[in-house]
Amino acid sequence: MTARVRFKMISQIFILSSKGDHLIYKDFRGEAGKDSINVFYEMVTALSGDQPPVVMTHKDLQFIHVRQGGLYWVASTKTNPSPFTIIEFLNRLAALTKDYCGSLSEKSVRMNFALIYELLDEMVDYGYIQTTSTDMLKNFIQTEAVTSKPFSLFDLSNVGLFGAETQQSKVAPSVAASRPIMSSRGEQGGKNEIFVDVIERLSVVMGSKGVLMKADIQGEIRIKCFLPSCSEMRIGLNEELNIGKSQLKGYSSAVCVDECRFHQAVKLDEFDTFRILKVCPSQGEQTVMQYQLCDDLPCPPPFQLFPSVEKDYVNRVLIFLKLRCDLPPKSTALNVSVTVPVPKGAISMSQELSSPDQTAELQPKNKALLWEIPRFPGGAQLSALFKVDVPGLSSASLLEVGPVSMSFELPKQTCTGLQIRFLRLSPTQTGLSQRWVRYVTHSDSYTIRI
C-alpha cells in the first residue's frame, strides 16, 4: 500500500452557463473527450434536489463542480483527488475571475473569455495546479478586462451587500469594489483603493419563548486591494480581544471569539500583545482572518418575534406577528424577509401591514407566506396580521405554522463587536487614494420556533 502510485490531477476544466452553454473549456490531458461537457450537463440537470451533486461519476470520469455566480465551474478527473483541493481550487478560480473581470456573471465570463483562458493557462499545467496567487499571476496576464456598465442606476445585485446608506457622509459606493483589479483605463481605473471588510454570518435558532437555543457567528476579515503593489499594512483589531473559550470574561467589554485562522501571509508577531495583523496585501480579494464564535452571542439577537396563531372561523388561520428589532437605535436592518410556513392547502391570504413599503405574499408552492420589510430601524417594532384561508383546516394543522425563518443584512454592524481600530500602511504608501473599512452582518440562518 505504501508504494501505491498517487496521481491527483485534473483532466479538464470547464465553465458552463446555467443553460448549459460552453463558456470556457480547457482540456489539460487529452484523456477524456469533449462530449464530457454535455454528459456533465445532462447529469447535473437530471439530479433531483436531494442528490448530492458535488461529485458525479460517468464511467471512469469524475466531475467535481461548484456553483458560483450562477455558473457551473467544473473539473473532471480520472483519478481520486482530494475533494477539498478541487473544490477550493474551483472557488479560487471563480474568485480570481471576479477579481480580474470585476464581477461574476455569465456576461462577464463571456466577455472576458480570453482573459480567463490566459488565467487558466498559468494556473494549471498538465492538470496540476501551479499557482493561484495574484502576485504571481499578474506578471503573466496581459489581456485587459472588459467591463460592462450597469444598465440602470439601480444595479440591484450590489446594492444589498453593503447597503446604500447615505446618512453618514463617508460611505463607500456599493459598486466601488466590483470592478476589475487590473484595469488601467476608464474612469474608475485610476482609483487606488483598499477595502477592508469585516463580514459576519449569523446563524440563530430561537425557541418558542424567545429563548436563544443556538447562536453561531462565522466571521472573516477580507481585503480587496486595487493597488498594484502594496507595502505592509497593519490592521489593528480591538485591543481587548479574547480568543478561546477558557478566558474569564468578567465585566470587561472584551470582544470574544472562539477560534481564529489566518491567511498564510499574515504576520502575527504583534498579534498576541497588541492585536495587530501585519500583511502585505496582494492585488485582488483575500481573506486574511476567519473567526468564529459559537453558542454565545455578545449582543441581544437582532430580532425578537412575538407570534400568535389562532384558528378563526372554519377555514381560516389568523397569524399575528409582532417583530421587534433589538439593534441600537441608530442602526438599521435592511432587506428583512420573514418566511412563515402555512398549513398545506392554503389558497389565499389577506394581510394588514403597518406601512406601505412592506409587502407580503402567499407562496402556495413553498407552503409559506413571505413578509418583506426593506428597512427596519433599530428599536422599532412592527406588526402584521395575516389571514390565511385553508380549506379543510383542522386544529392540528396549526402545528404546521412555523418555524419562522428570517433573512436580513445589518450594515455597519458586527455581532461579535469586532472592530478595526486602525489601518496603517508603513511606510506611507504612495498613490493610495482611499482606504475603506466596511462592516456587515448577514443572516446565514435565523430561525424562530413558534
Binding site: V5, K8, D21, G30, D50, S82, D216, R261
Partner: protein, 733 residues
C-alpha cells in the same frame, strides 16, 4: 453543439483571416482570432482554419500568441502535418530572451498531443530544465512528464530522471512540487517517485515555502514515507503540527490524513490529531461555499466512525439552515442521528421535529426516519413526537411515520406495545403502497395487540378490486393469514373471501401463487400453518452483538480526503442491507444515503486484483439476519473436516486475524453446531454459516456463503481463507 450555418461562419472567418487588409490591422486581426477561439469553445469545428492560425502565431503580441497556441493545442492531434509547420516558430520562441515567451512556447509545444513531436521537444525541454528563469524550469519539468506520456513504451531516460531528482533541491518551490509530479508519472511502473529519508526531510523543511496547493500535494506524497524510528516520527509530527491549523481546508485535511497514517501505532496521537482538527472540520461544515460544506460534512461522518463522541458537544452546528440545499440537510440529519446522547437528545429531537413539516416531502420523511433511528435508543420521547405527527393528517407524513413504526418494532421489540396503541388510536388508511404494506405488516405481526386490526384488514379486503400494487396484495395475504391464526373467529370469513378473490380473479401470477400457497398450507391444518407462518422470528442463537461499535481509524483512513466519502462507497453496502424488499420503509433512509451503485465501483480503487477482507462498519445481528434471509446461498461446500475443537475465544480470535467477524455461534458442544460469520471485501458483503449436524464420523462441516452483491472472485477467496484457518485450528487442537 453544432450551430446552424456553421460552415458559413468558418468560411467567413477563413476569408477574413487571409485578407491582407485584416492582417495589416492588428486589432481587427486579433479580433477575428478571438472569434475563432469563441466558436471553438462553443463546440464548433474550426480545425480547417489551422493554416491561417499558424500564420497568426508569428507575432509579437503575447495575447494573440496565447490564443493561437490554445487553438493549436486543441487541434494539433487532428492536423499533425500542419502542426509541424508551427514548430519552427515555437522553437525560435524557446530561445527568446524574455522568459515568459520561452516558458509559454515550451509549455504549448509540449501540449501538442501528436506522436511525432517528441524529437522536436526533447532538446528544448533539456535546455529548459537548466534555464535560469524558474518559470521556464517549472514548464520544462512538466514537459518531461508530457513527453513520457507521448511515448509510454520507450525506455525511461535515466539522465532525465536523475536531473529531476536533482531539481527536487531547486530554490523555486513550484519546480520542486512539479518534479515530484513528473517523477511520479514517469516512474509509475516502478511505483512512483521514491521518498527516502533525505528527500522526505528536505520536503518537510521546504513546506513553509510552498503555497497551499504545493503543501497539500507534498503531504500526499509523504504518505508514502515510513519513519525509521519513533523519534523521527515525532520530529515529523511536530514539524507538521502547525499545518493542522491551516486556514486552507485542503491543507488541514491533508495534514490530518498524514498524521493518522503515520501514527497508526499510536492511537493516542491519532485521537489528539482528530481533536485538534475538529475545529477546522467544523468550520468547513459552516463554510460559505456549500460544496465545501458538503465535503466537510462527509468527512465529519468518517471521523465519527471512530470517535462518535468528538462532535457531540457541537451538535448545534449540524442543525440545518433554512436556505441549505436538501443534500446538505440530509447529511446533517445523518450526523445528528449519530451524535445523539443523553444531554442533547431533547434539543436534537426538537430540531428534527421542526423539519418534519418541511415543504419538501423527501426531507420531511427523512426527518421522520431520523427520529425513528433515535427511537431505537430513546423510544419514549420519539414515540410522542411521531404520534403527534400523525395528528397532522398529511399523507406523506403519516406514511413515513407508519413505516418508521414498523422498523422500530422490528429493531426494538420493547416498543411494540406503545406503537400498537398509537396505531390503534390514530391511523387512517394511508394511500401510498409503501405505507399500506407497513401498516399491513404491523397488523399481521401484532394483530393480537390491536383490537381493531381485523376491521382495518376488512377495509383492505373489500377494496381489493381497486388495489393496483401486487406487493400490497401479497402483504395483505400474509397479514390476513397471520391474523386468522391469532384471531380466527373474526377473520375466517374475510380470509376466505380474500383467498377466493386472489385465486379466482387475480391476474398477477405472484399474488395468485402466494394465495394458492396459503390455501394449501391452511388445508394442512391450523397448527401446521402456524408452525410455518408464525415460526420463530429470529434465531435465538443470534442474540449477541448489538449496539454501535467504534471502528479503528485504519478502517477509513485510506479513503479519507479522497472522493470516496463524498460518494459514500462504504454505505452502499449497508443501505440495501437495511431495506430488504419486505422493509421498503427504509427508502427514506436510502435517500439519506443517496448512493447510486454505479458511482462507487468506478472510483479508482487500487486493490482490484487481490482480495482484501476488512470488517467495515459492524453489522447488528438483526441486519445480519435480515440480509441472510433475503439472499440466496451462492456457494455451499462440505469441508473435509469437523468443526475445530478449540475454545470459542480462540476461534473468534483466529478468524478476526484474517478479518472475519464471528457474529454468533452455538455455545459448548451442543449439536447441531452453528456459527455465523461475516466480512467485507472487494466491495461486497460476505455472510457465511458453518453448520455441523451430527457428532463426528459422517458429520463434516458445511459452509454456506451468501453475498451481496455477488462477486465470484471474492467469494472463492473468502472460502479458501476460511477453510485454511479452520484447517489450521483443527491441526492445532
Amino acid at each position: 453543439m453544432p450551430y446552424f450555418g456553421s460552415e458559413e461562419t468558418v468560411k467567413e472567418l477563413k476569408r477574413a483571416l487571409s485578407n491582407p487588409n485584416v492582417q495589416a490591422d492588428r486589432l481587427r486581426y486579433k479580433n477575428y482570432i478571438t472569434r475563432v477561439i469563441r466558436y471553438m469553445t462553443q463546440g464548433l469545428d474550426v480545425s480547417s482554419l489551422f493554416m491561417d492560425m499558424v500564420k497568426a502565431s508569428a507575432t509579437v503580441d503575447i495575447v494573440q500568441k496565447k490564443l493561437v497556441y490554445l487553438y493549436m493545442c486543441t487541434y494539433a492531434s487532428d492536423k499533425p502535418d500542419l502542426a509541424l509547420l508551427a514548430i519552427n516558430t515555437l522553437r525560435k520562441d524557446c530561445a527568446d530572451p524574455n522568459p515568459m515567451v520561452r516558458g509559454l512556447a515550451l509549455r504549448n509545444m509540449c501540449n501538442f498531443r501528436m506522436p511525432g513531436i517528441t524529437e522536436y521537444i526533447e532538446q528544448p525541454i533539456v535546455a529548459g530544465l537548466r534555464d535560469k528563469a524558474s518559470y521556464v524550469r517549472r514548464v520544462a519539468v512538466m514537459g518531461c512528464a508530457k513527453m513520457h506520456s507521448l511515448q509510454p513504451n520507450i525506455e525511461i531516460d535515466a539522465s532525465i530522471v536523475n536531473e529531476l531528482y536533482a531539481l527536487l533541491r531547486d530554490p523555486d518551490p513550484v519546480v520542486v512540487v512539479n518534479c515530484l509530479r513528473a517523477l511520479e508519472e514517469i516512474l509509475k511502473d516502478e511505483g512512483g517517485v521514491v521518498i527516502n529519508k533525505p528527500i522526505a526531510h528536505h520536503l518537510l523543511n521546504r513546506m513553509k515555502d510552498l503555497d497551499s496547493w504545493g503543501q497539500s500535494e507534498v503531504l500526499t506524497f509523504l504518505l508514502r514515507y515510513r519513519p525509521r524510528s519513533d523519534d523521527e516520527l515525532f520530529d515529523i509530527l511536530s514539524l507538521l503540527d502547525a499545518f493542522l491549523q491551516s486556514a486552507h481546508a485542503h491543507v488541514a485535511v491533508a495534514t490530518l490524513r498524514l498524521f493518522l497514517h503515520l501514527a497508526t501505532a499510536h492511537p493516542a496521537v491519532q485521537a489528539d490529531a482528530l481533536q485538534h482538527t475538529s475545529g477546522a472540520l467544523l468550520t468547513m461544515c459552516g463554510s460559505i461555499s456549500r460544496e465545501l460544506r458538503f465535503a466537510g460534512l462527509c468527512h465529519v461522518q468518517q471521523v465519527m466512525r471512530s470517535q462518535p463522541g468528538l462532535f457531540a458537544p457541537h451538535y448545534k452546528r449540524f442543525f440545518c439552515a433554512y436556505s441549505e440545499p436538501s443534500y446538505i440537510k440530509f447529511r446533517k440529519m445523518e450526523i445528528l442521528v449519530e451524535l445523539v446522547n443523553d444531554e442533547n437528545v431533547t434539543l436534537v429531537l426538537e430540531e428534527l421535529r421542526s423539519y418534519c413539516t418541511d415543504v419538501s416531502p423527501e426531507l420531511a420523511q427523512a426527518a421522520i426516519a431520523a427520529i425513528g433511528r433515535i427511537a431505537r435508543t430513546y423510544s419514549e420521547k420519539c414515540l410522542d413526537i411521531l404520534t403527534g405527527l400523525l395528528a397532522l393528517k398529511q399523507e406523506h407524513i403519516t406514511s413515513a411515520v407508519i413505516q418508521t413504526f414498523r422498523d422500530l418494532v422490528w429493531f426494538c421489540p420493547q416498543s411494540t406495545a406503545a406503537v400498537c396503541q398509537t396505531v390503534e388510536a390514530c391511523v387512517d388508511c394511508p394511500q401510498d403502497s409503501e405505507a399500506k404494506q407497513a401498516l399491513l405488516w404491523l397488523l399481521g405481526e401484532h394483530g393480537e395487540q390491536i383490537s381493531s386490526a381485523p376491521y382495518v384488514l376488512e377495509v383492505y379486503i373489500d377494496g381489493l378490486k381497486t388495489e393496483l400494487s401486487s406487493s400490497v396484495k401479497m402483504e395483505l395475504l400474509t397479514a390476513a393469514v397471520k391474523m386468522f391464526l391469532c384471531r380466527p373467529a373474526e377473520t375466517q370469513d374475510m380470509l376466505g373471501r380474500l383467498l377466493h378473490h386472489c385465486i379466482e380473479e387475480e391476474s398477477d401470477m405472484c399474488v395468485r401463487d402466494r394465495a394458492l400457497l396459503y390455501h394449501r398450507l391452511l388445508q394442512q391444518g391450523v397448527e401446521q400453518t402456524r408452525k410455518v407462518v408464525m415460526g420463530p422470528k429470529s434465531d435465538p442463537s443470534m442474540s449477541v452483538l448489538t449496539g454501535h461499535q467504534q471502528e479503528p481509524v485504519s478502517q477509513w483512513v485510506s479513503n479519507f480526503n479522497t472522493l470516496g466519502p463524498l460518494s459514500a462507497p462504504d454505505l452502499c453496502i449497508q443501505t440495501p442491507l437495511i431495506s430488504s424488499p419486505e422493509q421498503p420503509s427504509n427508502n427514506a433512509e436510502e435517500e439519506l444515503l443517496p448512493v447510486s451503485k454505479d458511482v462507487s465501483p468506478s472510483i479508482p480503487k487500487d486493490d482490484q486484483e487481490e482480495l482484501n477482507l476488512y470488517l467495515g462498519p459492524p453489522l447488528s445481528h438483526e441486519s445480519f439476519e435480515r440480509t441472510w434471509l433475503d439472499l440466496e446461498v451462492l456457494h455451499r461446500e462440505t469441508l473435509s473436516y469437523t468443526r475445530p475443537r478449540t475454545t470459542p475465544d480462540t476461534l473468534q480470535a483466529a478468524l478476526q486475524l484474517v478479518k472475519i467477524q464471528t457474529l454468533a455461534f452455538t455455545p459448548g458442544d451442543t449439536l447441531p453446531w452453528k456459527a455465523y460469520l461475516y466480512t467485507r471485501g472487494n466491495r461486497t458483503l460476505i455472510l457465511a454459516e458453518l453448520l455441523q449436524e451430527d457428532p463426528d464420523s459422517e458429520g463434516r462441516l458445511v459452509v454456506s456463503v451468501k453475498q451481496q452483491p455477488p462477486n465470484q472472485h471474492a467469494l472463492r477467496g473468502f472460502v479458501s481463507i476460511l477453510s485454511s484457518v479452520l484447517q489450521t485450528l483443527n491441526v492445532d487442537s
